[in-house]
């Protein structure tokens, strides 16, 4: 029997939500790691019962947890995240001064599609790590941080965080706030910025190579050259592997937001959650809406069935949207108000799975046979 497992990381622990393929009745387990921030949890495509979780507090620092039984039990893995090669140097701070690179937390975990023991981690201050032993030990892929533009990277409001990791065999993409998107064609050894076409207020040079506050990037597996980006402002699209970008915000009510999702079976169907502005992190008019484009952008439709019509002032964070791979593609997102919503019909209708979790930081979904 088909089972759907949703992994929700929150400000106060992790929750595992499960249902059958109908996705109308759910059971909830958790909190796992109660009281800790769980920025991200994700399962291995190669072994769905292998899960990784990033667990952090300001008090006790960073931990990585690993489950080998689908989240029923967890074991602490390795948490030694240093910067390789001695003195890591400096990057720009908010006030323009130089600041030593300092590890703070792991924002995103990306398990390899082929090997359950191989997993990548995106850190703050921006660094990319790899483990080949199930998370026990971590090695920084230094090619990113020694990339020539790195000393000029400046944190976004949330920190200098590496929050997006896309694995396409030897080609990889990462995105960093507020540096931009970077591409490697040699499994992470060397990197180059791929931000041509991005324009950001606050950057005096309209053609700036880096400095863009990219919020999230997604790609459909069947079209690896096509990337969709939710930038600080602007929804963007690239059809050449990030070499150039064009804006596809079209008729969105606002093009500020954090997550972006791609339909599992329709590579040109994408989802965003418009947020009022960079200073008003809640939906326009207090109405929570997902907007869908079936044309890869520019033409958008409002999805409202089952979503709050009024008095809703939550946000949806960058890693808090996911899609499942069932024939009728499910779309999921979590809010800072603690709701996790599901649409079992590609966004046409929505229902809350849970309403009162802590603020949701991340949502991932697995389909189990």
């Amino acid at each position: 029997m088909t089972q759907v497992r949703v992994l929700a990381g929150t400000r106060k622990g992790a929750f595992v939500l499960t249902s059958d393929g109908k996705r109308d009745k759910w059971s909830v387990s958790g909190p796992h790691f109660g009281g800790w921030e769980v920025y991200h949890m994700k399962g291995s495509p190669a072994d769905p019962d292998r899960l990784y979780a990033s667990q952090n507090t300001g008090w006790f620092g960073q931990l990585i947890q690993r489950s080998d039984d689908g989240g029923a039990t967890w074991q602490p893995a390795g948490n030694d995240f240093g910067y390789a090669g001695g003195d890591p140097g400096t990057h720009l701070w908010y006030d323009g001064t130089l600041r030593p690179w300092e590890f703070k937390r792991i924002w995103h975990l990306e398990p390899s599609p082929d090997d359950p023991d191989t997993v990548y981690a995106g850190g703050e201050d921006a660094a990319l790590y790899k483990s080949a032993d199930g998370g026990l030990t971590w090695t920084e892929l230094t090619g990113l941080r020694v990339q020539p533009s790195a000393p000029g990277w400046q944190p976004g409001a949330g920190g200098l965080c590496l929050h997006t990791i896309i694995l396409q065999k030897s080609r990889m993409f990462v995105a960093i706030s507020a540096a931009g998107t970077f591409r490697s064609d040699d499994s992470g050894e060397t990197w180059r910025p791929v931000n041509r076409g991005l324009h950001s207020e606050g950057i005096p040079d309209g053609d700036a190579e880096v400095g863009h506050c990219v919020h999230h990037v997604e790609a459909h597996p069947s079209q690896p050259d096509t990337l969709f980006m939710q930038k600080h402002w602007d929804v963007m699209r690239s059809d050449d592997g990030g070499l150039s970008w064009t804006e596809v915000s079209g008729n969105l009510p606002t093009d500020f937001g954090f997550p972006i999702g791609v339909h599992a079976h329709e590579p040109d169907t994408i989802y965003v959650v418009p947020i009022t502005s960079d200073s008003l992190h809640y939906p326009p008019d207090g109405r929570l809406r997902v907007w869908r484009s079936r044309s890869g952008g520019n033409e958008w439709e409002e999805l409202s069935a089952g979503l709050p019509e009024r008095d809703c002032y939550v946000n949806v964070y960058r890693d808090a949207m996911a899609v499942d791979t069932l024939d009728s593609c499910g779309v999921y997102f979590g809010t800072t108000g603690g709701q996790v919503y599901v649409s079992p019909d590609s966004g046409d209708s929505w229902a809350p799975i849970v309403r009162d979790l802590p603020a949701v930081l991340s949502v991932e979904v697995q389909v189990l046979s």
Binding site: G58, W59, F60, G61, L63, P76, N79, D80, G82
Partner: protein
């Protein structure tokens, strides 16, 4: 007078009581106080914390920064109603404190700093 903390050899092999904050007890899979055996002759803050991390490797990096060895900002160290947090980690603990810890009459407390509002 020579304290148990400063006296060469006095602390070696001694078991001392350590109280961990709730989150770290959960992480280490323990309840209540823990007993750790010192592997150095002089009782210092570092000696206690090294013994804790040796006994419970999962706590590595949660009390002190792995790279610098410095106390994490929101962690405090108390014993005998004294705040030892800002004492040099390799300084022998004060005489009365060391005597009480070595004798087992007082624990070494690892405390999560108060925060909130």
């Amino acid at each position: 007078m020579t304290s148990p903390g400063a006296s060469p050899g006095a602390a070696l092999g001694t078991q001392v009581r350590v109280v961990l904050p709730a989150h770290l007890r959960n992480l280490a899979g323990v309840h209540g106080e823990v007993l750790v055996r010192l592997s150095v002759p002089v009782l210092t803050q570092r000696a206690v914390l090294d013994a804790v991390e040796s006994r419970y490797p999962v706590l590595g990096g949660t009390i002190r920064d792995r790279r610098t060895g410095k106390r994490r900002a929101f962690i405090r160290f108390y014993a005998c109603e004294q705040d030892l947090s800002n004492e040099p980690p390799d300084a022998p603990l004060p005489d009365a404190v060391a005597a009480a810890i070595v004798a087992g009459t007082e624990p070494f407390l690892v405390v999560g700093a108060m925060a909130g509002g």
